[in-house]
């Protein structure tokens, strides 16, 4: 579920969001409610296993609107076997009242956008909270009865030293978090920060420093008992974000809200990323869709390589070979050669059952995926 509202549009962010003086939040929640009702039959009677609410800043919705939204959710769907219900929060926009509303609605997990514990780096990112906020917000959530928590951090911020990053990691782990997402700052096309980079307003982080940051992230997380399960995600045993695993494992999920994307058995679609359209176009409750893809075996395998290899568990080797063989004569042999090469370079594990990246492979994961997907010769 995508809640597109933010108090401020941070200049590095390329997700769909907008600063709204609250006057459209009510009609947005009502519209989202209609979409959820429309989507419900698509669950085919099965109960939902996981829910993830992202944004934007979902915690910016006032408790009474959350109450309305959660009510619709329970009305439309069978949530009796819900295993995980995550909501993204920003440290500065939470309150005990919000958390108790979320708990009442079945929320089991919060993902806290701390990003950094260093005031100057928070300023560089245009984040508005202060370093202590994140810890206080997490304590508040725990006190309200939300059992699972995650912290989001960003590294490779211009001006950030290796030591600064170590401190951020230490501060996050000191909060006893069971789940950590550490994202290397990327300059996405079309963002204000990318434009400023192009104008030479600041110096981006050095590649060698970023590589070192990747390394110490891994060792610090491991030191605190968190293992990498995805390129940028670390968790204590059993504390992985199950909803995210659905994405990486090629599972099925529904999508609601502007710019949200869904996937069911190879069909992929994405809602139009425009609040006005979302509010004004209502086809029996369904949202306007700007992209839709239908199943295609070659594309499906490419996507599985792309998503599956991002996980430490990787993919089942035999399954990959079978899929490639079914594509066309050259695909399996091409893929086998590419796998052999990437293994020789030390980027793929030699595990006979699983096809997965090594620690070195994670650093260059996209190039490994490109080599493998390219070898399918589609």
């Amino acid at each position: 579920m995508h809640i597109p509202f933010c108090a401020h549009k941070c200049h590095y962010c390329d997700f769909y969001s907008l600063v709204d003086p609250r006057d459209r939040q009510g009609s947005f929640v009502d519209r989202l409610g209609r979409e959820l009702h429309a989507l419900a039959p698509w669950g085919r009677g099965a109960s939902l296993a996981t829910i993830f609410v992202g944004g934007g800043t979902p915690s910016l919705l006032p408790p009474f609107l959350w109450d309305r939204l959660l009510g619709v959710l329970h009305e439309a769907f069978d949530l009796t076997s819900l295993e995980e219900f995550s909501v993204e929060c920003n440290p500065e926009s939470v309150s005990p009242e919000l958390f108790s509303t979320l708990v009442r609605g079945g929320v089991t997990r919060v993902s806290m956008g701390a990003q950094s514990f260093n005031p100057s780096h928070l300023k560089t990112l245009e984040r508005r909270h202060s370093p202590g906020n994140a810890g206080r917000a997490l304590a508040m959530a725990r006190d309200a009865g939300i059992p699972r928590q995650s912290i989001d951090l960003i590294f490779g911020i211009p001006g950030q030293t290796l030591d600064d990053w170590k401190h951020d990691l230490d501060d996050a782990l000191a909060l006893g978090t069971e789940h950590l997402s550490c994202y290397n700052l990327t300059y996405e096309p079309g963002t204000a920060m990318t434009a400023r980079l192009k104008r030479g307003e600041f110096t981006p982080a050095d590649e060698d420093v970023e590589v070192e940051m990747f390394r110490i992230t891994l060792s610090a997380a491991r030191g605190a008992g968190l293992e990498r399960y995805e390129v940028s995600n670390f968790a204590k045993p059993g504390a992985q974000c199950r909803h995210n695993l659905v994405y990486w494992r090629g599972g099925n999920w529904l999508a609601a809200g502007p710019s949200a994307s869904g996937h069911i058995n190879g069909h992929r679609w994405k809602n139009t990323p425009r609040l006005d359209d979302y509010l004004s176009i209502d086809r029996d409750g369904f949202a306007p869709v700007s992209e839709h893809e239908t199943p295609d075996p070659g594309r499906a395998l490419t996507e599985r390589l792309m998503t599956g290899l991002r996980l430490s568990e990787g993919l089942e080797r035999a399954w990959v070979v079978a899929q490639a063989t079914a594509l066309h004569a050259g695909a399996a042999s091409g893929l086998a050669r590419a796998i052999e090469r990437q293994t020789a370079l030390g980027f793929l594990e030699t595990d006979p059952a699983r096809l997965c990246l090594t620690d070195a492979g994670f650093l260059v994961g996209d190039s490994v995926i490109l080599e493998l997907a390219g070898a399918l010769d589609l």
Partner: protein, 665 residues
Amino acid sequence: MPDQTPHIRNFSIIAHIDHGKSTLADRLLQATNAVSAREARDQILDSMDLERERGITIKASAVTVMHRHKLGAKADDLEAEYEAPVDESGKHASKKGAPEEHGDLFMLNFIDTPGHVDFNYEVSRALKACEGAILVVDSTQGVQAQTLVNAYLAVNENLTIIPVINKIDLPGARPIDVAMEIEQTLGFRAEDCLLVSAKSGLGIPELLASICEKLPAPRAPVSDQLRALIFDAVYDDYRGVITYVRVFDGSLKLGDKIRMMGTGRTFQVTDLGKMTPKPVRVPSLGPGETGYVVAAIRTLKDVRIGDTVTLEHNPATEALPGYQPPRQMVFCDFYPATSDGGDAPDFEELREAVEKLSLNDSSFTFAPVHSEALGFGFRCGFLGLLHMDIIQERLEREGGVEIVQTAPTVSYHVLVRGTDTVVSPSGQTLKPVDPATGNATDIPPGHTLVDVHNPAELPNPSTIAQIREPICRLEVMVPQEYIGDIMKLCLDRRGTYKNQSMVSATRQLLTFEIPLAEIIYDFFDKMKGMTSGYGTMDYEVTGYRSDNLAKVDILINGDPVEALALICHREKSEQRGRALISRLKEQIPRHQFEIPLQAAIGGKVVARETIKAFRKNVIAKCYGGDVSRKRKLLDKQKEGKKRMKSVGSVTIPQEAFMAVLDQGD
């Protein structure tokens, strides 16, 4: 009363590129009402899209128009307004009054010529069909290098030249200075230059009068046997080859059985006519006339430009002088771009496109070639660099194939010890130099002189006695202040200074002798750059000469890449090798591993560079399961990679194969 037999004037328009030759041709057609203003498109004579886009004329065309002129008329009496269209039957219909009142009828045959040095051969054969030439000079640019070269060609053919100063309507026009330049460099009297604006039509009636008054009539026939010079041929999908001829003696009629005197081949004439510029059929072509001939000729290979056409039943005894085979001076490989590892379908597409284009342009050569790095392709020979660019563009545009082009090399003559057949390292037989080119000279006893136009085919170095390379006479025209820079550039490129002469008070003409190999890469751009765009140049290959040349191998990740090998002067091999691998370093993206780049002569490394491995290559976040977006990014990268070529495990962008061109020293 029937029209009297018209006076005939055959002429060409010659000029430096962009001096307005094609616009002038259009204006003449319009002024004689051959085309209406409404019909007039820019540059009517240039039939190919490419020609219009690049603003240059590639293929010469011949057009016939009728014009009335009172011989001896004074400038004030010229009837600027009066012109009448040629009707379907070729008759000249009058608009007001009897046609005869408006003077004698003139048949003007004009032949549009290519303006670039690469096509000098086409220019000179077109000039052989003429008695006169209009030399066009831009009044803002003045005399340029190609102006001179083209004028020399016309003088060599004994043509009468009318100097025309064009674009006099432009604010920057300085016709008096330019007239002085023409007098200074070419010896025409400044006051004989006609002032014209092809764009506005100013001076056009005077030019038409001058064509009728000053250009000589065709020479009288010397016999009754047909002798017609083939000065151009184009391929038409529906009618086969359309040949343009100029009749000198005898006459050619529809249905005649003709014989090409050079090849001995015979054909039946099925269509005969003139372009006005629309095709108009005529029953016969007489002495002095030009026109087109259709005779069921299937490919351009069956026609030699410069050959003489005679009649099968009453043949002439001697051909007209003129035939020379076109000389390919520049060679490079074309490979299909999308092919990875030499997929058959892409190569077949390229083959089809090349073969189809060769029907249209017989002056480029092609032979299949295979490269480890680039798969299957063609080794092609061109008249010059522009010709190469044009062929590449036409293959891509008309043939719908994407091409990887390797760096061009010149044709070397290699003197090998022994008289056995000479073979290349890949086992190909190397052809001895054709004595007809006039360059198969100074072959000592017990030696063989072979043609090598691919560095990869250089025979075993221990058998090589000499490597000879084409030498040019280069003319550069520059403003005074750049002379020092141009001197330095030419001397750096193994040029020898020959002569300097004044064009005007501020501009000089410099003449050098310089190896062609030194001007086929980035010379033109450098010259333009250092003269702020004011310099112009032209060159002509004059012969072959030996020098201390060597083959430089380029190794990527330890593998020699033949498509990047080059032949250069031994003293410059280190510099060239270093420059090339630094360019490669910029062109080849970082890989998952370190890539050494080396330049070597016979196993001895003269320069090296390393492309470091990338250390990090991963998208940090893939938000909310928006997999499609990331996959599209991956597809794009995959597509990009497909367009690259693999050498061992290294993928090389196609641009890298052109890196040899851009030395950036």
